[in-house]
Subunit: 418 residues, 2 copies
């Protein structure tokens, strides 16, 4: 049981060295890590095949297998992501604000690393390299605790990353894959207040709840996305159709996919049949409230009744809850009740409605006339991300390099006293 | 026991109303609160006299009594602080960044309130009105849980604030003083994840540790200040003397007061006698390491031996630990080991030394040629503050209005899909 404390102490020492490393040192290491990933592609895919076979045998669903699966292009994408992080500006030392005080003091806010970041994740093996690269560039030591289902993949990836790090002369403990996937070692890690500066859990409700209940270290939750697309009465219906199809069907297994369509009664009769047909042709199962069922059935579009718990539910599959609402107030009320503060979208040509929606909806990203799928670090221009925070503290939305830093005040004077 | 949940649920409802209140509504309420504080001054002072008498009878020390004591000017200062918060710009709705993506999406980061903020504090009654005003202006409902020693003072202040709120038409539950000071009700409050969005504990080590150990809600710690002044070999010694006297003696009971003086061996013989005399003349007891004792005694300045635990200790009184170090590396090592990441100062005319100090010291504020006492929201230009965070997550240093908000992404498009 002491092994986790020993592991974290080594990470803390490595973090102190990394905090004062130069940008050039960190970039050398990142380039070497990307090269090592490419060189180890065959090993990584072999390990992933084993993980996939076991997951299939244990009956995991399609969304789970999609998150777990690697292939040549996905490994290349992982290496490219490391190179892309290398190309981003170093956030450490960045002066974000600067002002002078009447007494002549000069005040700056300057970014510094957080220290040691513990990532807890489930099936996505690419998190191993993404998180390692983002932590390294932002000067943080990373402790990576993946799920048992992707353990062989994670080991193969971490081995390659370690070879890259070693060739660049940074301490190996800058990136550590936790060698066990049992709950006891996770519990021990979560208790190490003072050694671990931030824990980022990414995964299903059970995992997040377990971490939140048991952590003595600070946690930024990366929770589920119960994302809505609200088609307002003043929407361009062709635009709305393209947006809901993209939001639901382009990659249903991810957290920024839409789970519920809200349609204003004023346009539901025109909109639901066409949007319903488009969704069904993409393989989507529609689960409607009474009015949505009536309108869809009248147009010959297949629909099943939504159960009460289909609203507020993260399907992560080609299933969409559909509800007809009486205007903006009902839509806002539904989202406040059932949304998960992840991503919410309105489609409307009415500026006042859009403004009220963006002002009143509490979510990490509020979209106007755009797909929920854009709530993503890359798409929003942050570079890569360690995930999407649904906590409001510290970071809300995609966490990129800047969100992995803190800021200190640096105050320069010429002898000022109070 | 259910009363704390009921109380927090009422705060959550009030927070939802407050989140969409206009700046004018909030400012009306703040002005009314300031007026009500002034009108209730006699009642507040009477209540405070009772608290003070009880604290004196129970043998509290001078620093504690200083924090607890109110007088006419201090009540007026509380009302002025509320007016000052009213005069600050409303952070809610502020667009902090804005950029466009190649696909035409417009991305903004927009401030929103955190929700419900729980302040847990000990003896300072002014925290009641300071925290209430800052929370209200930033759109957050405040739950204020003060210590038993200041309970009568806090009640009198909260009563006045409530009268002000009522006259301005905002829900009374926007500001709630917890009606009990026992640990059971605090424990219940700390368990209310989902109802309380942030807990800010301010006080001694025991309180902070209790909160950190027991909270299921997010916590930003406002911990002790073990602040150092490091007099570098290239320091202007007159400036250094003025800074250490101010940092130690101007208000020893506060967290940004200095607790330890580090002096480079190269200037210790010149500096310690003059600085020692100045400090002793202000009533400061010096506790030196061997070399500091030798130099001070040789100059006839009274000094006692520092015990091992005098380094890293927050005296909060007119006591100063003194140590002679061999240059910047030893000073950085001492601060890394004994500092509390609150405030650290260097006095030097050497730019390279100052740069290394500001880069390598991890503290919420790093001062160059200025007193540690400037680590304060008002002094740094943030307006009032709810305290000084020693957590690196979310906010590091003084927490003013902006630090009581989160930021969401608002993304505007014209039909973009991925």
């Amino acid at each position: 049981m002491n092994s986790m404390r020993t592991l974290a102490e080594a990470s803390k020492r490595a973090a102190r060295a990394l905090a004062v490393a130069t940008t050039a040192q960190k970039d050398d290491a990142l380039r070497a890590m990307a090269r090592a990933l490419r060189a180890a592609s065959a090993d990584i895919l072999r390990a992933n095949q084993g993980d996939l076979a076991a997951a299939e045998a244990s009956g995991k669903n399609a969304a789970f297998l999609d998150r777990l699966r690697l292939d040549g292009p996905r490994v290349e994408a992982m290496a490219k992501a490391v190179d892309a992080v290398c190309a981003l500006p170093d956030p450490v030392g960045e002066v974000t604000e600067r002002w002078a005080r009447p007494n002549g003091l000069s005040v700056k806010k300057v970014r510094l690393p957080l220290g040691v970041v513990l990532m807890i994740f489930e099936a996505r093996p690419n998190v191993t390299s993404d998180a390692a690269a983002l932590c390294l560039k932002s000067g943080n030591a990373a402790i990576l605790r993946g799920g048992s289902e992707s353990f062989a993949s994670n080991q193969a990836i971490a081995k390659a990353l370690g070879e890259g790090l070693a060739s660049a002369g940074l301490p190996a403990e800058v990136v550590t894959l936790v060698p066990s996937t049992d709950r006891e070692s996770m519990l021990e890690l979560l208790s190490l207040d003072g050694l671990i500066d931030l824990c980022i859990p990414r995964g299903g409700e059970g995992l997040i709840r377990f971490v939140a209940q048991n952590a003595r270290v600070p946690v930024v939750k990366h929770y589920q996305g119960v994302c809505h697309v609200y088609v307002h009465g003043a929407a361009d219906l062709a635009m709305a159709e393209a947006i809901i199809v993209n939001a639901k069907a382009s990659r249903p297994g991810v957290c920024n996919a839409a789970e519920c369509l809200l349609v204003d009664a004023a346009v539901a009769k025109d909109f639901l049949p066409r949007a319903g047909r488009a969704l069904v042709s993409r393989g989507v199962e529609l689960r409607g409230d009474d009015e949505a069922q009536r309108l869809l059935r009248a147009a010959g579009v297949p629909v099943t009744p939504a159960k009460a718990d289909d609203f507020g539910r993260e399907f992560l599959q080609l299933i969409l809850a559909v509800k007809v609402v009486n205007g903006l107030d009902e839509a806002l009320g539904h989202i406040a009740r059932y949304g998960s503060e992840h991503t919410e979208a309105i489609v409307t040509a009415d500026k006042a409605a859009a403004q009220r929606f963006t002002r009143e909806v509490c979510a990490s990203a509020v979209m106007v006339n755009a797909s929920t799928r854009f709530n993503d670090g890359g798409e929003l221009g942050l570079g890569a991300e360690v995930g999407i925070s649904t906590s409001r503290l510290h970071a809300f939305g995609p966490m990129g390099l800047k969100e992995l830093t803190a800021q200190k005040y640096v105050v320069e004077g010429d002898g000022q006293v109070r």
